[in-house]
């Protein structure tokens, strides 16, 4: 397959594919002559992954590159690769603020209580602590009060997700599934959560069911 077909099948324009090649988001095709290259199905799959990361996850190109590099570090043990993927997918952090210390203690307490085996420097710990701290700053600390019920919910989901991902035929596919599952799973959960919120709020707060403040 040459670049034109790759473009047609992926829906990405030829100049943009060239741009991704230059940026290292896509490995070069196999040269069959000095100015002719051949692209395989793997290129198409990789290109679709790049678009998903950029369009759906909103990752900047530079972060996409990091994620892909973590995907291609094939020599490490599986759970290390998953950790690398998680680290690459973590949202950018600004330096911790004062409130974060309290919140971080709360997070570590939760991890301990649930018996979760987490590396102490997992980036999600800082993200979580920062989020809780900001909730308090915004006067919405009660929303973070029962982390436990959130943890219950995501632990059940994680069981299913990891089991599904572990059924992939090789570690490359597992790592790829972790990226896709993390990113698109988040979007899926977010959209479902909005729907559930709309349903529940229609029931509790809607006009037909006795909003204590309305009517």
């Amino acid at each position: 397959m040459r670049i034109g077909e790759l473009s047609r099948r992926s829906g990405v324009s030829v100049p943009t594919i060239k741009f991704y090649l230059r940026e290292g988001l896509l490995p070069p095709g196999e040269l069959t002559s000095p100015n002719q290259a051949d692209y395989a199905d793997g290129h198409l799959r990789r290109l679709r992954l790049v678009r998903a990361l950029i369009d759906l996850a909103g990752l900047p190109v530079a972060r996409v590159k990091e994620v892909l590099e973590s995907l291609d570090a094939g020599d490490e043990a599986l759970h290390h690769r998953i950790g690398a993927v998680h680290r690459a997918l973590a949202p950018p952090r600004q330096p911790a603020e004062s409130d974060d210390t309290r919140a971080e203690a709360q997070v570590r307490e939760l991890i301990e209580k649930r018996g979760w085996a987490i590396e102490p420097d997992a980036p999600a710990i800082a993200t979580l602590a920062e989020t809780i701290a900001v909730l308090h700053t915004l006067g919405q600390g009660d929303l973070a009060a029962d982390l436990d019920s959130y943890a219950d919910a995501v632990e059940r989901l994680a069981e299913r997700e990891v089991a599904a991902v572990a059924s992939r035929p090789d570690t490359d596919r597992i790592a790829e599934s972790v990226v896709i599952g993390t990113i698109l799973g988040e979007r899926l959960i977010t959209a479902l959560r909005l729907l559930a919120q709309e349903h529940v709020s229609a029931r509790l707060l809607g006009p037909a069911s006795g909003d204590p403040r309305a009517e």
Copy 2:
């Protein structure tokens, strides 16, 4: 409070506050003379909300403005305001693709089966359908196979969240809590989910517990 104090208390530079004022993200202060204005605590709260939306939710300034406008449309019924907030917070959509039709049917079936009362044009429906379609395109359709378990999880969370939010003293605060809860709740769930995934994957795939492919 004048702009300098607002800047110090929020951590946002004076030029940036001026920029937000120009862009309409922040209502103008009350003029006490032709070139002197007074800002209240509400400005500070609003400014912190703006920063949370930009920094944590990654919303572009123009979308933040829409969200704030949906917040300030105070005359509508509560559940309409919540719907407006959800619409403003929905991720941008590209025109639907062919695969989306199948996925959208799956979503509507789920909604029907669970008896959710959702407006048929809720933006989360399209987001969800698109996400499922992309999962299939990327060869990870199995991750979206049991939407039901995801729906179980988020429905439980939504019950708690809506109940917490409904306890706010007035509808303005409720609408504000919906924004913050939607955005920061997502971040909180995402971070917790990563931690849970790390825990489960360490157990199922880690080196000490018999990864079927390693050792």
